[in-house]
């Protein structure tokens, strides 16, 4: 099925994937950069335009399908994962991309999200995390930090947030990556990895909402701090970071710690080498968990393990059943088993 794509699609450019609709996100919104990154990578997937479906829920980010010149389905609040599952099961040849936000995905859609992860349905899930409900104008979400003052938490929230990475990995996602909106090139690379992964691929994008949570990721993405507050996860490479690339993540006992290379006899050899393919979730969970101020945030593909996908498994059962059954059509079925004839 893949071969049909090549001839036509090598010619595609990012403009081919932009729809004729005016993009209506606020100027300066992180969503623009994510859209650009997606439009950038789609021509390189080797898929025909008609074989890509973008599915979304409700929220600012979920307007995404209207801006993509592919098949698109803008569903209802929280339910994108369920709709995307139906699309993929109906036609596994389609490349299915699901766009969601932190409210859509981890609040009202939490149940569908964890079960999509657990089943390992082969969809690419991009979670725009701005830690706020933007479209409804600034209420706290399940990803809002404790103490944040919002429209519905005037005294500050008094509950702890989800970390989408921990949620995804805990729910058995076989792929988890994290990127930031101000680095669309890096995002494109992550989306390529997501596409190549068979099974659920969750990418959390730390995305800035200019209006309701402006600067919420500043301590990670700010020019002055980003080198010290982001560690790029590259498979097979040590987790080294910092302006001077002199800091690293070390596994000490059963905990991660930040160490300085050259201090206390620490060399590059002591630094944890990233292995995205290890089945055990322990280290991946710890990497996803890292947050400022004591840790940098892990960026890139944190987890990418192989497991049977739900859609492949279903297709396999169908093929087996077809091959082994004596019943091939409804007339066969209707006349099977216990019947009698009235002459």
């Amino acid at each position: 099925m893949e071969n049909q794509n090549i001839e036509q699609e090598v010619m595609l450019t990012k403009e081919d994937f932009a729809s004729d609709q005016v993009v209506k996100w606020c100027p300066g919104c992180g969503d623009h950069a994510i859209l650009k990154a997606v439009q950038d990578i789609f021509p390189k997937l080797g898929k025909k335009k008609e074989d890509i479906v973008v599915v979304s829920g409700i929220g600012c980010s979920s307007r995404f399908p209207y801006y993509m010149n592919t098949y698109g389905f803008h569903s209802i609040h929280g339910r994108a994962a369920a709709a995307a599952t139906g699309v993929k099961l109906a036609n596994p040849n389609l490349s299915v991309w699901m766009i969601t936000g932190d409210g859509d995905c981890t609040a009202i859609g939490g149940n569908h999200f964890i079960h999509a992860c657990r089943r390992n349905i082969d969809i690419n899930l991009i979670l725009f995390n701005n830690r706020i409900y933007g479209m409804t104008k600034g209420q706290f979400s399940p990803c809002t930090f404790r103490g944040t003052k919002t429209k519905t938490s005037p005294q500050g929230t008094y509950e702890d947030p989800f970390n989408p990475g921990e949620l995804a990995i805990g729910a058995k996602a076989t792929f988890f990556a994290r990127g930031v909106d101000i680095n669309p090139k890096e995002l494109s690379e992550i989306f390529w990895e997501s596409y190549k992964h068979d099974g659920i691929a969750v990418t959390e994008v730390l995305q800035n909402c200019m209006i309701f949570s402006n600067g919420v990721h500043e301590n990670i993405t700010g020019k002055d701090v980003r080198d010290d507050m982001q560690v790029k996860c590259v498979h097979g490479q040590p987790l080294i970071f910092g302006k001077n690339r002199d800091k690293g993540i070390r596994l000490n006992g059963n905990q991660l710690e930040v160490v300085k290379i050259g201090e206390n006899g620490i060399t590059e050899k002591d630094i944890l080498v990233h292995d995205k393919t290890t089945e055990d979730t322990g280290i991946h969970m710890m990497l996803a968990h890292m947050m400022p101020p004591h840790f940098p945030v892990a960026i890139g593909v944190i987890r990418d393990v192989k497991a049977p996908t739900f859609n492949d498994s279903l297709d396999q059962v169908i093929e087996n059943e077809k091959a082994n059954s004596k019943i091939h059509c409804m007339d066969d079925l209707l006349n099977s088993g216990s019947t009698w004839t009235i002459e």
Binding site: M68, Y71, V87, L89, A90, K322, L333, T339
Partner: protein, 622 residues
């Protein structure tokens, strides 16, 4: 085998097998049904078991029943009052008092009477002795002891031997109705293939029951129900839920659109999901989702992707699916929603039937969100109703709700096997690849339906969703005039389905004094009651509605020309209200019952006759 007693011919008979949950009454009933099929009778069956999986043994709550209604004439119902009750313990008598009529034969295991068993059943004394059952013919047989006696040479333990006592009871009933034992023997041979001892033990007990009834002359008469005059053809027995599943599969095969079911377990609809998961060999994708909403949403995703998509549920699940149904209305995608109704509101009566989801089906969504609603009239009829729901959904690009109920779903009936070639064609309006003029909300003039443009098809890329769309182009639109147009179009599209469904039939004289109206699963009882009154010479007619939204185009003509109209339904009058809303000039009286039970023929006839008397006295007073 010859019967010593006199053989009496009967038109139709209702037998209820009743015992404790562990007594094997479902199997006994099924085996009797098989022999009924073999005898050429028309029949319908209904299992009546407790909601609890293992309720307390010996109690009324733990009674499990299986009813068989069979006849020489067409059988429309699973029967109400029984002619024969097989009661394996005192609790089974207690639980079924409601279903006895004067003269009912009660075949009772007299060994089951112990102080403890009576106490559990809530009897102070043995009901077979103290006059409780004076109106009935009680036939006491020491079934447990005789079963053990029959098996004494098999080297089995006490518990294992008693497991076969249902076969002894079956033997007695087979004798009573002059049945051949071959079908039961055959079942033993297939079921216990390779276990000769088990086959022999079961046969021995069955024979023992049969001969006991014969030798001890338990009955003054035995009975025979002549073969029914059924249309020529091949038949099978089918439950409503299985019939619905098969109807969907047939529609999928006919239309060429693969079947996708997204569903979540809920009583009494689960069996449709369970049935469809069996047929991966026929390319059915049945998906058990994480909740009701995921069930319908995955189906909507699959519908967008070109599948004949279905979701199945019962009342509480239909509530959960409301928002998603609105999405299916907005995106104008084909979708079948089957609601196997149960008693409500909330969790209500999960294992009992009701018709109280009608208003929810018609209007239970935000916004003006019209869709098609049709209802199944019988268990076997669920096949055709599901097929029709799928046909309308695909040919008119709309969600369709099919209303069934717990009695139809679990009940079974004789089903004449159709040939696929004889079923109506199903032709969805697929958009043509690379159509340069394709627009997502372009409509045909006749039906106002949009085209189905399936992902993977070149040149038809488009976006749909829950936001209001510009008519034609399908771009997002908040334009006030456009919303007015689109709302009216969605309504008119559903109204026009009326041009694609049959006219409403009226059974009997179309100018009859009294018109009895019903819909859905009450067809059998209402029709039987009306037939009875017709035979008595009453001026009565019956209109049973299968199509509810939209109503058949001649509905008003059907309502015209009667002195009285009575709408009978298992709710507080929802269809009556709906008719009044649509046809305010006609006065609709109501007959309603909400006990988790179907109507009985007797109570319907009684109500109708009362209406008569009121009418006549009114006339006199004029």
């Amino acid at each position: 085998m010859t019967a010593k007693s006199k053989v009496v011919a009967l038109e139709h008979v209702v037998i209820r097998f009743s015992g404790d949950s562990g007594d094997g009454m479902q199997l006994t009933g099924n085996l009797f049904s098989d022999s009924t099929a073999f005898a050429g009778n028309d029949f319908a069956t209904f299992p009546d078991y407790p909601a609890e999986i293992r309720p307390p043994q010996g109690t009324v709550a733990g009674v499990s029943g299986f009813q068989v209604h069979f006849g020489h004439k067409p059988v429309h119902t699973t029967g109400d009052l029984c002619d024969v009750l097989v009661a394996m313990n005192p609790a089974s008598i207690k639980a079924n008092m409601r279903w006895l009529r004067p003269g009912t034969i009660i075949i009772f295991d007299s060994d089951s009477v112990t102080e403890k068993a009576l106490e559990k059943a809530g009897y102070a004394d043995d009901p077979t002795v103290d006059g409780t059952l004076a109106d009935y013919q009680v036939v006491k047989a020491p079934i447990s002891e005789l079963t053990k006696e029959a098996l004494k040479d098999f080297g089995m333990d006490n518990k294992s031997m008693l497991k076969s006592k249902n076969m002894f009871a079956l033997g007695i009933v087979m004798y009573l109705f002059n049945r051949e034992l071959d079908t039961v023997y055959k079942y033993f041979e297939t079921k216990f293939k390779g276990k000769d001892q088990v086959i022999k033990a079961n046969r021995t007990v069955l024979d023992a029951g049969y001969h006991y009834a014969d030798t001890w002359e338990l009955f003054t008469n035995t009975y025979r129900v002549e073969a029914a005059d059924l249309e020529k053809g091949k038949y099978r027995n089918i439950t409503g839920n299985t019939a619905a599943a098969w109807g969907l599969m047939a529609a999928s095969e006919k239309s060429g659109r693969p079947l996708f079911l997204g569903s979540y377990p809920i009583t009494p609809a689960t069996d449709i999901l369970a049935e469809l998961t069996k047929y991966k060999n026929l390319n059915v994708k049945a998906y058990q989702a994480e909740d009701e909403i995921a069930g319908i949403m995955s189906s909507i995703g699959a519908a967008y992707t070109g599948c004949m998509a279905v979701t199945t549920t019962s009342g509480p699940g239909l509530s959960l699916k409301s928002e998603a149904m609105g999405l299916a209305v907005m995106t104008e995608l084909p979708l079948v929603i089957i609601d196997v109704q149960r008693g409500g509101p909330s969790t209500g009566l999960p294992t009992k039937m009701e018709q109280s989801d009608l208003m929810q089906a018609l209007y239970g969504r935000n916004g003006d969100a019209p869709l098609v609603v049709i209802a199944a009239r019988s268990s076997a009829g669920c096949f055709y109703t599901a097929y029709e729901a799928a046909r309308i959904a695909m040919e008119h690009m709309t969600p369709v709700i099919m209303l069934s109920d717990g009695s139809l779903g679990n009940g079974s009936e004789v089903f004449r096997i159709p040939k696929m070639a004889d079923l109506p064609s199903i032709t969805p309006p697929l958009a043509k690849a690379d159509d340069p003029n394709y627009m997502p909300y372009r409509r045909d003039e006749k039906w106002l339906r949009r085209e189905w443009a399936i992902p993977g098809t070149p040149g038809l890329r488009h976006r749909v969703g829950g936001l209001e769309k510009e008519n034609g182009k399908g771009n997002l639109s908040t334009n006030p005039e456009n919303h007015q147009i689109m709302t009216e179009l969605r309504e008119e599209k559903i109204n026009r389905v009326a041009n694609d469904i049959p006219l409403q039939e009226i059974y009997g004289d179309k100018n009859a004094d009294l018109l009895v109206v019903s819909w859905g699963g009450t067809f059998g009882t209402v029709r039987t009651a009306v037939e009875g009154l017709m035979e008595e010479g009453k001026s009565i007619a019956h209109a049973h509605f299968d199509y509810i939204m939209p109503l058949p185009r001649n509905t008003e003509e059907v309502l015209q020309g009667h002195k009285k109209i009575v709408v009978c339904e298992i709710n507080r009058g929802q269809f009556a209200k709906y008719l009044r809303m649509n046809f305010p000039e006609y006065k609709c009286e109501q007959f309603n019952k909400v006990m988790g039970l179907p109507f009985t023929i007797g109570e319907l006839a009684f109500k109708i006759i009362r209406l008569w008397k009121i009418r006549i006295s009114n006339k006199r007073s004029c």
